[in-house]
Amino acid sequence: MALDKVLAKKIGKDISVSLFIYALPVVALFAYFAIKGQTPWVNNTHQPANVDVPAVFKFLEPALKNIRSWGFLVIALVLGAIEFALGLYDNKWTKSERKVDIVCFLAPKFLLPPVTAFFSLKLLPLILPGLANEFSWVPFWAGFFIIAVADDLTQYWYHRLHHQVPFLWRFHRTHHSAPYMGMAMASRQNFIYTVFFSQIYLTAALIYLGLGFPALVVTVIKSFITLSAHSSIAWDKPLYKYKALHPIAWVLERLISTPATHQSHHADTVGDGVGNYKGNFGNMFFLWDVIFKTGIITRRYPTTFGIKFYKQEEWYAQFLWPIFKSKVAGSELSANGPEVGDEVGPVLFDESDLYVSKQLKREAVA
């Protein structure tokens, strides 16, 4: 499967625009200091910023400060328990799905920290010698925008390329294979996809360069947005229901990923005005999809999720493909399995596939 030429051209154009977007917060910082006539790096008089957690959320402070270690785990578990108690997983959370979700949720918590610690403590001082805390003079507001743009735009590209470049798709397939939405989906990834997440290393490098505190604040905000976007708890519903809240909805659905726009990305349909698994790639910010015209803004929620060619592969194949292959015949994850990509591809429909919708079957027949 080759990359479509028109698509390759569009990717190239959008990457060029992205390079400019990455530079924007730095240009803004330059303009700010130039206008103010300040050079805070001369004596590095910059005071480290501190953001107070509102009293109502004080009980969350330890989890927020440790968001990179156990904090995320605890928040995801609590929210997952709420979903479970509300019965939002329905009866789709089968034994094999549970295995995939739990392994993908827990294993990286043990396997990833040694890798990122090695990168931060050993590799970065080698690659960028003498530059530790070089940019600690950057004010909090600028650091926040630099990290927010750098981290999330990088994740947008990492994610988008795994959909649009055919040979990358199978590393991301596990994230889309579940026929439901839920908190566990945020972590449901092939480990090779997770361990080479570009934005983890980019943010680690920026922390090494002195942007540690803004990175922590961005991580906390991003964790909440991405978890809630994957959640089956539709927190955005009231925004669409009450007219007075429509202006807020209008801004939010263009700025950040909401359950409606992100569930659309996990739908198993495209072109019906609700599902858009070939777009809506934004993670924290939906803005990238607006800028690059890869998104649809919907206020409805898909009824079916997942992928057409799902064969309920074994947990080890979903978690560690291509190191471990599936034994399921005809699976994309089996040895010499077809490279299907995220295409609908009616020719490849298999009657035994449980998740082929009736409408698409009709189209295939027609």
């Binding site: 530079a23 730095v26 910082l29 530059l131 470049v165 090779i192 934005q199 291509p322 190191i323």
Partner: protein, 40 residues
């Protein structure tokens, strides 16, 4: 794991590395440039 798999993983790492290193050069280079230009 076959040679083809190793090839796919290598290509994937290369794509990931490019997505990591290009923004890093823009941001770190940009911040260094801010210092240099305003120090004059």
């Amino acid at each position: 794991m076959t040679l083809t798999d190793v090839n796919i993983i290598s290509k994937k790492i290369l794509v990931g590395f490019l997505i990591f290193v290009v923004p890093l050069i823009i941001i770190a280079g940009g911040l260094l440039l801010v210092k240099i230009l305003l120090n004059k």
